[in-house]
Amino acid sequence: MKIRTEQFVEIAREEMKNTRSKAFLGLLPPVINAMRQISLATFPDPDAAQAYGAAIRGEVVTRLPELLEEFERNATARGTKVVWARTAAEANAFVLDLAKKKGVAYVTKGKSMLSEEIGLNDALIDNGVDAIETDLGEFIIQLLKRPPFHLIGPAVNIAVEEVRDLFMEKGILAEPTEDPVALGYAARLHLRDKFHRLEMGVTGVNMAVAETGTIVNVENEGNIRFAKSSPRTQVSIMSLEKVVPTMADALHMIRLLCRNGTGQKMASYISFDTGPRAAGAIDGPEEVYCVIVDNGRADLYDDPVARDVFRCIRCGACANICPVYTKIGGYPYGWAYTGPMGQLLNPLLLGFSGTSDLFRACTLCGVCKSVCPAGVDHPRMFLYYRARDAAGDPKLRSRGRPLKERTLYDLFAWGATHPRLWRQGAKRMRPRVNRDARDGYLSRSVDSLDGWFRSRDLPEMAEKTFQERWKEREGRKANA
């Protein structure tokens, strides 16, 4: 996948002119969030349920290495082949090599954000193994060669007319129609044969249960179940934070994932794999591979603030309610992850250089944090990112801020820590600054700070500073 995080502002500006996307995005907060609220209300104490989810994920983050080892031990004991990959390239090479060894012409893909992150499809397709996305939304954007618009509904913004033309062009649709249901059924028919003849299925992982060595997938369409039922070989790829301690924890997180993600009480299908098929079973995989992918995460683990992103369960609730996402949609985030989680994950995984607009495009309103079932404190993290970026932290691959900005703030800091200079400076600056004031407010800059003033005003400088007024007051008291 092409990384376009650097064009955040440009793409956001374009997308805000897109009336179709805007109409859809306008519906997100009222509709999806209402569904989320209603489904959460089925808990006798929704806040306690969310808090328990946050506690589970917090525990996962602190116990990560031991939980991974426990998962590996139990999964291996049941016959799952656990494979570790340090990088995207290692993960892709493993899957490609396996597909070649098995001699398969194609694999079907269940929706997996990790596979977008590591670029698995391209790695397979460029080397002669077709990778067919089978989630309806992913299927459409793969054909259109577009990035995901939304975590759960990657193609939900695409016009029916565009889907119709696409399906006609690809021979998926016999008669043109604009009925979304008929379009969906056409995709069903097209993909059904792929499932029927499938020899190797590739899926993501929603949870990996340490206690039992079980892989869990949550879905509505059934494409993941096909990938786990029809072929002889199943490959499930997971980023290393997907592990949870116990089966009871997994069930609680499933309740939260469904409610927070799609406003459902329960998704249509939850499937649990503990090793390959049972002895004597006629379908199901003879071999199950679980690829645990690091791709830069382990390097971040000793950062006690940054590692909190590993709490995320990819439900997308933060995006559905974010005042920024619901104006600009998913494209500006420029990579696999969209919305507030994209603002946190993309910079960490890609490095701050080239992604710093992402964590600045936020007013710190905190609504993301308020809906998160995993206890991610987004605003705290955004502030932390900004501070580390200002410091030019090489570990987070920050190249620091532009010279002009740095110089300005250095000057400000120097002045602000020298009281006498500050007082004199204020006195001298006042007439110059206030010359531009209108009705008591400054709305453009004396110098080249126009960017700052684009969305902000400053009150004009007061006639007297606080210090001066205080002195006068004390003087009056003394005279009285």
Binding site: L27, L136, V156, R192, S230, S271, G280
Partner: protein, 224 residues
């Protein structure tokens, strides 16, 4: 894949000192469902499944279930069905029922292997019929353990899934179903599914519809 990858990744994770950092768990959040009585469990299971467009018929006994099945077979014009041979379906003797009603009743054991079985379950049957291991009232969900008797594709590939649920198998919440499965098998089975209504999607313009890749309809026969 080099073995070094595992050592590298775990090594990096382990070198971080996290002692004393594991937060304590708050008390387990309450679940209303745990207080439900038998009739309420049946009612809630039905209500939740119907919300997902499931059709629920309640019959008194096995004879009633076979009668209902005949009715459905006629209305749907079934020629052939694929069945599981789990412990709920086995006593119904669906083979005999099929012979009496002119429906070809197929099962995994009739096929030489995976490919022949797949050809039939994908293209030659009008419905898949399964029992359940357990059912969960919380969300109108059925829990299936997949093995020799319960092939994965029976409840997935045909356009219609008929699921037979003895009412004494309806439990309040998922945890209880999983506990019973773990106890009966001494661990997690190779494959287990929780199925709630038909396959669905809302990926084109957020328009929801049933029957994306799996069954378009689910009919539950409650016995008891």
């Amino acid at each position: 894949m080099p073995y070094a990858a595992r050592e590298d990744v775990l090594g990096k994770l382990k070198k971080t000192d996290r002692r004393g950092e594991t937060p304590s768990r708050p008390p387990l959040p309450p679940l209303t469902e745990l207080g439900w009585g038998t009739e309420q469990l049946i009612e809630k299971f039905t209500e939740n499944l119907v919300l997902q467009t499931g059709v629920v018929h309640r019959v008194a006994d096995r004879a009633g279930a076979l009668e209902k099945l005949t009715e459905i077979a006629r209305a749907e014009g079934w020629k052939a069905v694929m069945i599981a041979t789990d412990e709920v379906l086995a006593p119904l003797d669906l083979a005999a029922w099929g012979r009496a009603n002119g429906v070809e009743v197929l099962k995994a054991a009739d096929f030489t292997g995976r490919d022949a079985f797949k050809d039939a379950v994908f293209d030659q049957v009008d419905a898949g019929i399964t029992g359940v291991d357990w059912a969960v009232a919380e969300s109108g969900t059925v829990a299936l353990v997949h093995d020799e008797r319960q092939p994965r594709l029976v409840s997935l590939a045909p356009i219609l899934h008929v699921v037979v649920v003895p009412v004494d198998r309806i439990l309040p919440v998922y945890e209880q179903a999983v506990e019973r499965i773990l106890a009966a098998r001494g661990g997690m089975p190779a494959h287990m599914t929780l199925i709630t209504g038909p396959s669905m999607t809302a990926d084109i313009q957020a328009t929801p519809f049933k029957g994306m890749h799996g069954p378009r309809r689910v009919i539950a026969l409650l016995i008891g």
